[in-house]
Amino acid sequence: MAKPSSWIPHVEAFVDSSRPPNQHAASLDAIAALMKGGVLTIEESVREMELYLVTTDNIVRSRGILLLAELLLRFMLKPLDVSTIHSLIEFFTSRMADWQALRGALIGCLALLRRKDSVGMVSINDARALARSYLKNLQVQSLALQDRKLCFELLECLLDKFPDAVVPLGEELVTGVCEAIDEEKDPRCLILTFRIAEILLRLFPDPLGPVANLAEDIFDILGRYFPIYFTHPKTDDLDIKRDDLSRSLMHVFSSTPFFEPYAIPLLLEKLSSAFPIAKVDSLKYLSNCTLHYGVQRMEKHAKALWSSLRDTICACSPQEYLFSLDSQDTVSQGNEVAKEALLCLHTILLHFDGLQCDLMFNLIIEDDELETIFNSVSGERHYKDFPIESWRKLNALASILSVSAKISSSCCSRVFEKFFSRLMIIMGISSGASSLHCYRNGNPAVSNELSFGALCLCVELLAACRELAVNAQLKPVPEHDKWCCMLQNVSSSLAYAFGSGIVEAEFCAGMNQLTGRADNFTTARGLEMLGTFPGCNFPITEAVFENILMTFMSIMTSRCEDTFIWNLALKSLVHIGAFIGKFHDSEKELCYMRIVVEKIVSLLPVDDSALPLSMKLKAAADIGTTGLSFMMKINVKLEDAINTEFLKAFGGVTHPKAAENLIHLLNCYSKRVIPWCHENGKFEELASSFAINIWNLMEANTDFNIGIQEQGLLDALAVVMSLVVAGCRDEYQNLIVQKAHAILSSRPFFELMDSEPSIQLEGLLPSHYSVKFCCKDEWIIALFASVVTALRPQTILPNVKAILNVFTVFLLLRGHVSAAQALGSMMNKWPTKISSGELSDTCNLEEASNIVFKISSVLSSGFERKSDDLDDNHMLCHPIDGHNLVQIHAVVGLAWIGKGLLMRGHEKVKDIIMVLLKCLLSLDSPYNLPLSVDSMHDGDGKDMQFLLAKSAADAFHVFLSESDICLNKKLHARTRPLYKQHFFSTMMPILVSSIKECVSSNTRSVLYRAFGHIISDTPLAALLVEAKKLIPSLLDGLSVLSVDVQNKDLIYSLLLVLSGIIVDDNGKEAITENAHTIINLLVQLVMYPHMMLVRETAIQCLIAMSALPHALIYPMRLQVLQAVSKALNDRKRPVRQEAVRCRQAWASMASRSLHF
């Protein structure tokens, strides 16, 4: 045991109210630490602290009790024996009467009551005594907020955890609680009081009990809060929202059926109030109360409920045509009320349905007002001259009927009997098979023009009964209900009427909005509803189903000029297809396949049909996504089409549009078909066969009558190829690679590459310059590169050395980035260990990375070339390329190889960085004009040198940026975690010191370009750590780079970095230190002429800077205001708007002396 002297001073410190709160906390911590270590027990501390707990000094006593309570709160999980708990709770209970020490007593009781059974709980008797003392001594509403909150927490805990202890208190408890919660206004307490009321009311379900007796009074206290009117500012940290309060109160309302006589009239009254929020709340409460009060109690309110709901729905329904009532359109406030009202109606109907003899339902069916609305609306012919009120009525009626029909099959039948048959008459649709006969003869027996009002109601009813049927599918088979029979009788003529309505829809250009074509939309929807009925032959027969599909298909093939109708038809077909897939309806599937899919597919290859290719592809892809079998079918035909177009594009005869068509087809394949297959299976078979097919085509094609200038086509092909390959597992990848390699190695140039074991260190051999790549070679290499970039690391690449050579030569001579990317990807995925059984032509990564030397030797030969080297005759072999272009290509190659190595964390990347740095600094070297006396002019040589240095700087961008065509997660790149951060921290010192040493302005500018790329691509968190060192260089860089227009994108990204540092808390210090320089720079950038985003961001930074300490920035104020005034006259609006804000921010620092 600890000596009292060791911890009593802490107690002294705690009870001394003159000390600051942090000392109180520290002493509490100290005592708690002793207890935690087991040196001190609670019992001992109580014994030693006796004096503090019972002294007559109010302050000391209250602090002492508080200390004990806080300690108990901290050790709620520490086991205590029963007698200790008993004496402690007895002590705290007695303290309830001691108002000076109340806080401690409340916390102490709370800590004891919340203990779990396993560590010693308060006994029932003690809890009851506590409750008695609470009710007797506490005047909750006279206490301060914090104490009130504690009181409520205590009460909630008592009611919640010790119901057996408090229930015997009966009426005393109920009145006591009511007294405590009456008139509470603080939201934090209110949420507790609602909870208390809810628990309390549930504790006394007895109809003769205290709650039943006092229900009116209790409701009087609680009902006042409804509807919750809560206008707390949003920025408050209370973390209580109106919705929380409202929900809690709703639970209180529904917690006891004794509230029914008082609550329902109140809710109905508030439902008719003008505030939308009160309406929504009332509706929610009504639904909830109906659920809890039971039908018997609600029965007498049925009439009032129905008429209020009807009026609300009629008054708040939207005033324009809706997609459908459950559409995901944005809801305005009125709509929200209507929606909630419908939901409430649904709940009530559902609840009344099973139990009572259709009381509520009869009200609806026999309602006179609905009847009037029906009569007025169903006769409306043209929606275009509908008054707003008619829309409202139509929507209200449609939604009420729809909700009622969805309740149950018998309800649906009654709605059908009452309304559906009349609608059929209005629409002029006769039942029976005769109309089907008419349809087959193409002889319209029904009037073409359907009454729009009736049409809407009819479609809404169809949708409702369809939903009912779909839900019934999950249950046992429904008996053939009356509504089914009615529908079956008219289904064929209905389908015909809808079909002719949409097929004969007039097309007017510029009428593509829904508002102008509501009738077309509705008929299409009706047809879709009929087409998506579950069950194979009932109520919709197969013949009708076929007719529906044929109607849509005729629109698809012949109405492409009317995009609205065409899209409607396509959407409906997609819905029907998806529905078939969902319900595994094999008969309908066959039907769909025969009528829809085969027709669509047959359209694909024919390029002279009336339908544009892009529409055909969209239709095919959309329909394909509805089912695997459909997609397979479409895929086959799509590949055929690709084959045909491929042959045309590369064939001897020129087809002007073939290449363009092929690009369309390939895009569709890569954007729609492949991603879908990837998610839904069968991907690899498809993908690998597709890839091999393409390679076969490449091989077989001898004409190759196409130039490399068809870059768009090559790109599309490469994208598809890498997507296809990347998705396959390695065995399929191996297959594809072998195929591709076989074709590559059969080309004549390949032998040359293969025979040379490696390219000589001095650079390219003369023989390499003489390699002639024909057009086909270029395509094959580029395509092979796209395969290589997508391989998985474990896929084996045959004959790697030759492939390395091919790519290197191709890159250096032709400057193809794809070759560089392939090299980078190879380096990145190169296996770390090679098993002994491998083929002899493999080599390890070290050897392979010697390619870096080979490539960089091209560069170094450039640096060190003296004038006597000029007789290099291989230069003259390719005068068009010139040596410097080769050098630039080499830099690009190094960039991608470096990226590959950097991402896997290989140290060889250092060599590349050194070469690149040398390139950057070469502008300063004495031999910086290696080509000046060559065939080029002086100025050109200098420009070329600058270009070379610039591309070296851009290599750093390649290193760190995310590329979507190479070396990313999807293409299986190996990525070392935090490689960017690592690169940043190694490169920064080197670059910064070279910038310091450098004297020439050109070199400075390229060095800063490299620096800028690194900074803008490194994650901000890493930069913030170094912010202090970084900021001066960043600022200097910005001002150096802003001279050249070509750097504008870089400037923008650097400015974003700067703004990131300004707004981050960790960057504050660095910003404050350099505030003046930063502001000077920003003021210049406000006028940056070449890019709006730069100006806008600069002004935003200035706004952020205005939050710095006043004394620091005040001297800059005039300068900033002058600059911003100029920006008010900027030619771009966003800049002006920011300038207004900025001016306000800076001018308001001293509002009296605004400078106009």
């Binding site: 070449h1090 008010l1128 006259n1129 771009k1132 708007q1137 207004v1140 509002s1151 009296r1152």
Partner: protein, 160 residues
């Protein structure tokens, strides 16, 4: 000075749905966006200039509307016509002053700003117009610390 509020119970209108500016399609870096009605209106309601008497913004009280703004960027000319809530509103000059100050602070200095009371909406229309467009008198008003404070309060950002 009259005690009590001049218009005790003004009609408050719901804020009109903002006419959305169509997203710029061209990305010509050097093309010029002219200052137009909507931009001026945005400036005027940007911080919800408040009524001097009520916590409502001028937009909510329909004191200023988008249609009541005339602007010609080429001629550097703006004319704002505002409608006081009641005919005898003595706050009209203060509101007008606020509008003027706001525009001076937010527009390039080349603009000539003309602030007017809508014809027939105020008892002393001509006097108010004269006062609001007299450079000397505006300058003098802004020398008056009480007035400047009042104007600043109207223009202070609020986040209603």
């Amino acid at each position: 000075m009259v005690s009590g509020l001049i218009n005790e119970n003004p009609v408050v209108y719901e804020r009109k749905e903002r006419r959305a500016r169509s997203a710029p399609v061209e990305t010509d870096e050097y093309a010029e966006d002219l200052i137009d009605q909507l931009e001026i209106f945005d400036i005027l309601i940007q911080y919800n200039i408040k009524d001097p008497e009520h916590p409502y913004s001028l937009e909510e009280l329909k004191v200023i509307t988008e249609d009541a703004i005339e602007v010609d960027d080429k001629q550097s000319y703006v004319r704002v016509t505002f409608t006081p809530t009641v005919e005898h509103c003595s706050m009209a000059t203060v509101i007008g002053l606020c509008l003027r100050v706001k525009l001076i602070r937010s527009l390039p200095s080349r603009f000539k700003v003309d602030i007017r009371v809508a014809p027939g909406t105020h008892a002393t229309e001509t006097a108010v117009n004269k006062q609001l467009n007299d450079k000397e008198r505006v300058a003098a008003a802004l020398e008056n610390p009480n007035l400047v404070e009042m104007v600043d309060e109207c223009l202070a950002p609020s986040f209603a």
